[in-house]
């Protein structure tokens, strides 16, 4: 299957489900850029995040499988209790190593790994959350020439995550969810 040259990686914790759904729900099933979504979840909990997303978005929502290959039309959900990494051949690797920022999956881990593979073609989006996870990863994406987007902290359900990112990446783009959504749609037109 053809894979896109761009990649969207999105992360959030508290308030992140709601925020990511608002961004994703109107994206068409034919949306050409694969999207990886890392949300902090409770460990050892059988989540049906996939079901929750499936019902509400047009794109296909799947929990990431080991060695699965990125393809357009999908929102890839980080599984509970695993870190998600990306290989050069655009396949996923999973990892159960130490928690990062008290989290596994950690947004930092996936953001950095994505930027190592997609470089300036990485679009990182950090949403609402009560954690500092994701800031370093987003900054890493930015340093590689990729795009760093942060949900407007005024709008975020919990602003710790956005504020922490803005703090270390002063030049990031701060947007409300609706803007993020239309921005992603505009990438579609090019």
């Amino acid at each position: 299957m053809e894979t896109s040259s761009k990649l969207i990686v999105m992360g959030g914790s508290w308030g992140g489900i709601h925020a990511s759904l608002s961004v994703l729900k109107e994206l068409p099933a034919t949306y050409p850029i694969p999207i990886i979504l890392v949300l902090h979840r409770l460990r050892n909990l059988e989540g049906n995040l996939q079901e929750l997303f499936e019902k509400r978005i047009s794109l296909k929502a799947v929990e990431i499988g080991e060695k699965e290959k990125l393809a357009p039309g999908y929102v890839y959900l980080a599984p509970s209790n695993y870190h998600v990494l990306l290989e050069k051949d655009h396949t996923f690797s999973l990892d159960v190593s130490e928690l990062e920022n008290y989290s596994r999956p950690s947004i930092d881990v996936t953001f950095m790994s994505a930027a190592d593979v997609f470089g300036k073609n990485t679009i990182g989006i950090l949403l609402s959350g009560a954690s500092k996870d994701g800031s370093s990863g987003l900054s890493y994406i930015f340093d590689k020439g990729g795009m760093a987007i942060v949900q407007d902290p005024e709008e975020a359900e919990v602003d710790t995550m956005p504020l922490s990112a803005i703090d270390i990446i002063p030049d990031c783009r701060i947007m409300k969810l609706e803007r993020i959504h239309s921005f992603l749609l505009s990438l579609h037109d090019h």
């Binding site: 060695k67 990494l85 999973l94 159960v96 190592d116």
Partner: protein
């Protein structure tokens, strides 16, 4: 910490992998790279090494340093009753069948620091099978084997482990299995009376016995497809007919060549049984 451009870093890692193989006999060529890169960068940062060249020199000149590197580059993070539903399934679907054998042999491959091993031993004890079971606990890493033998874990984790124990169908007082002491707990060493600990490298070593159950959870995720295939064949050679293979929650046998001779016993919990 900044690293020189990625292509350079990645090439240097390949050189390092070849040299470690030549000098120490450890072959990391079949390891999935994204995780290797991350572990190496992490190690460089922790050890305040500024370049891969410094790391290379230290590794080649000092076998003790290499041992430490080995421990940090391979992921040894584990927990008791990780995925309680898996252990519940083992209790309900596998142990009753194993109990029909007069003597049971189990291989815990990649046992790391022993949390899974002790979880397994507790299950066997409660099924009254521990006395006639021999467990072979192996890992690439000798240091973690030593830790596993001690059975000492941080007390801070016990709340989670206790919850995991009950979620996996445990009915006893969990605290009967260990003694607390200064922020750590020591598990009853009689649980591992019939365990033999061996260094074994899945990437290069061969089959060494026949087992009724092979557990290898969250190890294969670090390997590329070729190495995974090698290990599946190794497990296949090491399992008796009608033996069980248990993998990690996100690991699957379905892409493997051996999958045709295995039936899923519990698809969700990745427990398979050899058909002939």
């Amino acid at each position: 910490m900044k690293f020189s451009d990625d292509a350079h870093f990645e090439q240097d890692v390949e050189v390092l992998i070849r040299e470690m193989h030549t000098q120490y006999g450890y072959d990391f060529n079949g390891y999935a790279r994204a995780s290797v890169y991350r572990r190496i960068k992490r190690f460089l940062t922790h050890r305040h090494l500024s370049s891969l060249e410094d790391l290379r020199k230290a590794l080649m000149g000092d076998s003790y340093f290499f041992e430490n590197f080995l421990q940090e580059i391979t992921v040894n993070v584990t927990e008791m009753f990780r995925d309680p539903s898996f252990f519940l399934s083992l209790r309900n679907n596998v142990l009753p069948i194993l109990s029909t054998y007069p003597f049971i042999k189990i291989w815990d491959a990649g046992c790391s620091t022993g949390e899974e091993l002790f979880s397994l031993a507790i299950l066997l004890q409660e099924a009254d099978l521990l006395g006639r079971t021999k467990i072979y606990a192996t890992d690439i890493n000798q240091k973690v084997l030593k830790q596993a033998k001690e059975g000492i874990f941080s007390a801070a984790n016990m709340t989670g482990y206790t919850a995991g124990y009950y979620a996996s169908g445990g009915t006893q007082e969990f605290s009967r299995y260990y003694n607390s002491n200064y922020g750590s707990v020591k598990f009853d060493s009689s649980l591992i009376k019939n365990v033999v600990f061996y260094p074994h490298n899945l990437a290069s070593d061969t089959s060494f016995n026949e087992f009724h159950l092979v557990l290898c959870r969250n190890v294969l995720i670090y390997f590329n497809k070729e190495l995974q295939e090698r290990v599946f064949k190794l497990f296949d050679e090491s399992l008796v007919s009608l033996g069980y293979l248990a993998l990690g929650k996100k690991e699957t046998l379905s892409m493997s060549q051996i999958s045709s001779s295995y039936n899923p016993v519990d698809k969700l919990n990745r427990i398979y049984r050899k058909t002939d």
